[in-house]
């Protein structure tokens, strides 16, 4: 079957699924974007389904409050970010500061919109073969790097080979390992790239999108010296970077991008990124008017920003989690009854209220959560139930009580979450001892093999912070499979692993829904980890600032940002 024939069949399949009620319209848009349908084509599919084509679309939302004013060209925007822990190298960066900065100067094959949907960037279209093991990407033409060289398929192949090379120190290897190997990316011609995957992976476009932070495209000649020679295809070029202090970005005169009205991007002349580690200091700068934009705002400690009449805090549907993992290789967590007992002790509403003022979405210990991933099966809710918890403890022979230790880093709101778990477990007879250690200590030590001793992968019970992931499958791939690199639970459920591989190898949406339901059920029933909530993302800006795009997580696009005149 030719690719074109396959796409036609798949389009027909999507329309049929919506008409039969097996998919929502929103889900159709997401799956259509994964399989490389343009926004126009996806709109046509919706129209073919009947009814309104509005609603559930993935276009960027207008800023809250009044509508979007006309863009204002020129000027300087001042934005605040935490500084990068390391030097700026797109291959190795892993923290928010580095990722946001790099993504101003470099671009991904695929962007994410404000709802974690896919939209073309350096790739204009993409499509899989029938079992999603081979993906073909068509690249945008006429794009040049800031050093003057043309962006071509050979650059994509070199970039991806570098990212899956263990010697490169790539932070993307953990996500791409087992999916793509060196040599798997082939430049078919100057404008076409073929990804030959190690195994079928229906969510592959997400792995080369802005959700996979390191996959920005670099020239094939890249030598690992990005901080000294910052090169990319992005809307900005770097004028100055002082580590831990500031980064000045100026308009890239050769940038290819234009807005919907045909205006050259970016709108503004310059972005001054001020690098501030301390949240309180950053918030005070926002309140004093010295700063225009904070791409990611942590809720705890930032409550005053909501009441500031000069600021607007936009809320985006994030998917970040705080994983509470039970190490099933260690006592007492081999017994699923005990894991479930802890799960039934949690008052998730109260946790959400205490940590995020009720702004986050509740989770029920599965990644397949329809409030954050539209179209996912609805899991059974888990309201606090001490009788059930006590019964489970009794079934496990622990009716006299249970003593456990929860390891947690003094980082973000993790200590508060640990204290809430401690307090909510006590009435059931579960005595939680907290082991609070530093951020550095929790990630220190040997990370793999029989001698693994790093606390986040070896502690009996641990809280680990995870940023947003665009699909439940990407989360599961990273932490719930027997060969997952970052499994704090060390869960080894063969039924789940087999079902997961089937789920990733099919593009049939009815089958995916059935398999997704089964995966969700297995995960919730066996409870290798607790997922009490999915964190809503906050972005703070002056009320005069418009046009900031991105999913509100690490990635942030300010090419269409502007400051409206009063």
């Amino acid at each position: 079957m030719s690719d074109e024939q396959y796409r036609r069949d798949y389009a027909h399949h999507l329309i049929e699924q919506v008409n039969k009620g097996h998919m929502t319209r929103r889900q159709l848009l997401v799956r259509a974007s994964v399989f490389g349908f343009s926004a126009t084509a996806a709109g046509s599919l919706l129209a073919a389904c009947g009814g309104s084509t509005s609603g559930g679309g993935s276009a960027s939302p207008a800023p809250s409050g009044t509508g979007m004013p006309a863009p204002v060209m020129g000027g300087t925007l001042k934005a605040v970010l935490p500084p990068s822990i390391t030097d700026l190298d797109p291959v190795t960066i892993y923290d928010q500061g580095g990722i946001v900065l790099i993504s101003q100067f470099c671009e991904y094959l695929i962007d994410l919109d404000d709802k974690n949907g896919l939209k073309p960037k350096l790739a204009e279209s993409w499509s899989p073969n029938t079992d999603a093991s081979v993906w073909t990407f068509k690249l945008r033409q006429g794009v040049v790097f800031s050093d003057g060289s043309a962006f071509e398929a050979a650059d994509v192949a070199a970039t991806m080979d570098r990212l899956v090379d263990p010697k490169s120190g790539s932070a993307a290897l953990s996500a791409l390992g087992g999916i793509l190997s060196p040599g798997g990316t082939v430049a078919t011609d100057a404008a076409t790239v073929t990804f030959n995957l190690d195994k079928p992976f229906a969510d592959f476009p997400f792995m080369v999108s802005a959700s996979s932070y390191n996959t920005v495209m670099l020239p094939r000649t890249y030598k690992g010296d990005w901080a000294k020679n910052p090169v990319g295809t992005g809307p900005w070029t770097m004028k100055e970077y002082v580590a831990k202090q500031k980064c000045t970005a100026v308009k890239n005169p050769t940038y290819w991008g234009k807005d919907a009205a045909g205006n050259q991007l970016p709108y503004m002349d310059q972005i001054d990124w001020v690098l501030v580690q301390d949240e309180s200091a950053a918030n005070l700068q926002l309140q004093s008017g010295a700063i225009d934009l904070q791409p990611q705002t942590v809720f705890q400690g930032s409550q005053a920003l909501f009441a500031d009449p000069n600021l607007r805090v936009d809320i985006y549907p994030g998917t970040g989690i705080r994983e509470v993992a039970f190490n099933v290789n260690k006592d007492p967590w081999q017994d699923a009854n005990l894991r479930q007992a802890v799960a039934w002790c949690l008052d998730r509403e109260a946790i959400n209220k205490a940590l995020y003022d009720g702004r986050s979405n509740l989770g029920y210990d599965t990644f397949w959560e329809p409030t954050v991933y539209p179209g996912s099966p609805t899991p059974a809710p888990r309201a606090q139930d001490y009788d059930k918890a006590k019964q489970l403890l009794s079934d496990a022979g622990k009716s006299g009580g249970l003593e456990i230790t929860l390891t947690v880093a003094k980082y973000l709101e993790n200590p508060q979450l640990a204290q809430l778990i401690q307090a909510q477990c006590a009435p059931a007879g579960i005595n939680v001892k907290l082991d609070q250690i530093s951020y550095e200590a929790i990630y220190a030590g040997t990370q793999s093999g029989p001698n693994t001793d790093t606390p986040w992968l070896s502690a009996p019970m641990v809280i680990v912070e995870w940023g947003s992931r665009p699909t439940p499958g990407v989360f599961a791939q990273a932490m719930l499979l027997p060969d997952s690199a970052w499994s704090s639970s060390h869960w080894n459920n063969k039924d789940f692993a087999t079902t997961f591989n089937q789920y990733m190898a099919t593009s049939d949406e009815a089958t995916r829904t059935t398999l997704g339901t089964k995966l969700s059920q297995i995960q919730q029933d066996d409870t290798p980890i607790l997922v009490p909530f999915f964190i809503t993302q906050l972005r703070t800006q002056k009320k005069t600032v418009y046009g900031v795009q991105g999913p509100g997580s690490f990635y942030c696009d300010v090419s269409q940002a502007f400051v409206a005149t009063a």
Partner: protein, 315 residues
């Protein structure tokens, strides 16, 4: 006097060597390693091992120390392992910033605290004495992160009289830096005022009880001459020693103030380097703070010697 200075300068050399060895040894017990800090929690052990080998971080401690110490003495301070920037200009710039903030703060702290302490000592047990003692001690017990946030909120966010950061925009004249340093200097004044004023008060009270002061008064010397000619000169000896010992903290210990006011000083640089195992940066910055600390104490000793001839003469 020259002998005193020479002896103290010679003592600085073994002290610095000892400090550098201690820092290198202590860095070993910090959690994590350089490769892990650079590559992050999601890198594999193999990736970390390869990077550590490239950086030479897998070599024995003594070998790394010898290489670093040799480079330090010859002026080659190397590059930061994490930030990949040259260490020498980075440390010197941060040190310069810290010196400026500390110097500006001392310009306010020293005269105000001495005047308050001497007044309190001269009016011992009076309402003025109790007022000064209670108010300065009250200010001292307020942690700088509390006073700093409150001051920032009142003067930068609410009244907008002073800037919210401690660094002016690029291209601003040098003199504008002092305007930006007013707000961060105030919490430092709060912290130091009580301590130094109390030393000045105690010194004044002790000197006032000395027989030579009674003699001077009974001789009929004017009060002003007794105070400026005899009391102040002798009462300042412990105060100057205390000020000297506080300079090291004012330069290397202002992590909270530097963080809150987004000021690129050496205190924050040291903490960041320690947290990320950037031993090259940590060593250089700690050593420079040690040098400044010793230099400040040397200057304090010289001032004390000038005030007290018995010390100058080795008595």
């Amino acid at each position: 006097m020259l002998r005193l200075i020479g002896r103290r300068l010679l003592l600085m050399v073994p002290t610095l060597i000892l400090v550098s060895i201690l820092i290198f040894a202590l860095a070993e017990v910090l959690p994590g390693d350089v490769g892990r800090s650079i590559l992050g929690p999601y890198a594999t052990d193999e990736q970390v091992r390869i990077l550590n080998k490239e950086l030479g971080a897998d070599k024995p401690l003594y070998e790394r120390y010898a290489r670093w110490a040799g480079g330090f003495v010859t002026g080659d301070w190397g590059d930061s392992l994490l930030l990949k920037v040259p260490v020498f200009p980075t440390v010197m710039k941060a040190l310069g910033n810290s010196l400026l903030l500390a110097g500006f703060a001392l310009l306010i702290i020293v005269p105000v605290s001495i005047v308050l302490g001497v007044f309190a000592g001269l009016r011992r047990d009076s309402v003025l004495d109790r007022g000064i003692t209670i108010s300065t001690l009250s200010m001292t017990v307020i942690p700088e992160f509390v006073s700093g946030v409150v001051l920032l909120y009142i003067f930068a966010v609410w009244l907008k009289w002073l800037p919210v950061t401690a660094m002016p925009p690029d291209g601003s004249p040098f003199v504008s830096r002092f305007y930006y340093l007013i707000l961060p200097a105030i919490p430092l004044m709060f912290l130091e005022l009580g301590y130094i004023a109390r030393m000045a008060r105690v010194g004044t009270v002790q000197v006032l009880a000395m027989p030579y002061i009674r003699t001077a008064v009974l001789k009929g010397l004017p009060r002003r001459r007794v105070i400026f000619g005899h009391v102040l000169r002798n009462a300042m000896v412990p105060t100057v020693t205390v000020i000297g010992s506080q300079v090291g903290w004012l330069i290397g210990g202002l992590v909270v103030i530097e963080t809150l006011f987004v000021y690129p000083g050496i205190g924050k640089l040291m903490v960041d380097a320690a947290q990320t195992h950037d031993v090259v940066m940590l060593e250089a910055s700690v050593l420079m703070v040690a040098v400044i600390y010793m230099a400040a104490n040397l200057i304090a000793d010289i001032v004390v010697a000038l005030l007290n001839p018995r010390i100058r003469m080795g008595g």
